[in-house]
């Protein structure tokens, strides 16, 4: 299973980025290989407009099974990533990646349907 996090940094200790569209990084954790990889999202962050849909495009290419983020994707981005059948969990902005993953494992994160 691949889990995507919107993150302010590249490690397990980094904080979740509350933003979806303008997140600093997208971190992907593959629990089969136990690898954590970082995708730099700064090119999208510097777009004046349309950041949400541009990040949705990236998520689409990464095809994770789960997304853990802060506020959650906006309306346009939601429409774009709906096709992925990915589970989306929100309100993790006060947590580190490590904490957010533990909360997810324990079923403590809030899931949203888009």
């Amino acid at each position: 299973m691949k889990i995507a996090f919107t993150s302010t940094g590249v490690s397990w200790d980094s904080m979740i980025d509350a933003r979806f569209g303008r997140t600093e990084y997208i971190l992907i954790y593959d629990d089969e290989t136990q690898q954590l990889t970082a995708v730099n999202n700064s090119s999208v962050k510097n777009e004046a407009h349309g950041a949400g849909t541009a990040t949705a495009q990236k998520i689409y290419e990464l095809k994770p099974n789960v997304l853990i983020t802060g506020n959650g994707p906006g309306e346009n981005a939601s429409r774009a990533i709906k096709q992925l059948n990915m589970k989306i969990y929100i309100d993790a902005q006060e947590m580190s990646i490590k904490q957010a993953y533990a909360h997810f494992k324990n079923g403590k994160l809030k899931e949203i349907k888009i």
Partner: protein, 290 residues
């Protein structure tokens, strides 16, 4: 720390006047961020000192390298915005007319034209007349507000609030429901909606609330000038009730709002019947965000 965003959907409902009042009442415990950068007028009431300036770059602008230009006129031919003109032996690009489409860069046979990052304004970190910190921005002529600029203003405010352990960030958002508004909402704990009892007031309140609901952020609403149309006020109250939006207050119409504005003051700085109404609103917001 609580991030409170003040929004209205419709412009002109009193959003900025109310933000200024909240900023005065919150005092040094809040960092205020003016994210309504297209009409950044919170500074008129809070009188920030513009002490630190950060240049802001966003979008691109076509620039001609005159040494490479062969004066073939192709760029001027394809520019549908008529931004490229031939003046005294060379082509020049009007920064006001260029819409940054990049067609001229593509068509130039000698690659004399490149798209370069454009400075679109300044972000300021200031001290207000009350000694609180305010982050705000000013756009250059012809530049537009964007989600990127709002994110910049908000991030600066957030960093300061975190490092100085402030309890509140007060964010004055843009009217409408576009990119800058969505950007101002991210990370927010509570939204204060300011509306007025008019048809468009309610219509735009419904539109902005649909966006807030999508992000599942708790919201409260202030009906400003509620007594100018009591029937419409009832319609708004019904909507608030149906959506379980906190009904924070009804503010009566009172000329002291304009009086305070003319004096360059927030409404709570002058003696008026509205002073205690505003104080009750702030108490109520604090209770709901704690």
């Amino acid at each position: 720390m609580n991030e409170i965003v003040i929004l209205s959907g419709k412009g002109g409902t009193g959003k900025t006047s109310i933000t200024a009042a909240l900023a005065v009442m919150a005092g040094k415990d809040a960092v205020t961020a003016d994210c309504d950068v297209d009409a950044a007028d919170l500074y008129l009431l809070l009188k920030p000192d513009f002490s630190k300036t950060i240049e802001f770059y966003s979008g691109e602008l076509a620039v001609i390298n005159q040494d490479l230009c062969t004066r073939c006129n192709k760029c001027a031919d394809v520019c549908r915005f008529k931004a490229i003109t031939y003046v005294v032996n060379h082509y020049q690009i009007s920064t006001l007319d260029c819409e940054r489409c990049g067609y001229c860069e593509k068509i130039c046979p000698t690659r004399a034209i490149t798209m370069q990052e454009r400075k679109s304004g300044n972000v300021y970190i200031s001290k207000t007349k009350f000694g609180s910190i305010m982050v705000h921005a000013m756009l250059d002529v012809g530049a537009a507000n964007s989600g990127k600029l709002v994110a910049k203003v908000k991030n600066e405010a957030k960093q300061i609030a975190t490092s100085k352990k402030k309890h509140f960030i007060l964010i004055d958002g843009s009217p409408g429901i576009g990119c800058p508004v969505v950007s101002s909402l991210s990370g927010a704990n509570y939204v204060v909606l300011v509306t007025e009892p008019t048809l468009s007031g309610l219509h735009d309140l419904k539109r902005i609330y649909a966006v807030i609901k999508h992000f599942q952020i708790k919201a409260g609403c202030i009906i400003n000038k509620y007594d100018i149309n009591k029937e419409q006020t009832i319609e708004i109250q019904k909507f608030l009730c149906g959506e379980q939006i906190d009904h924070l207050a009804d503010i009566p119409y009172n000329p002291s709002f304009s009086k305070a504005m003319v004096e360059g003051k927030a409404i709570v700085e002058i003696e008026s019947p509205l002073k205690h109404v505003m104080e009750e609103i702030w108490t109520s917001i604090k209770e709901r965000t704690n």
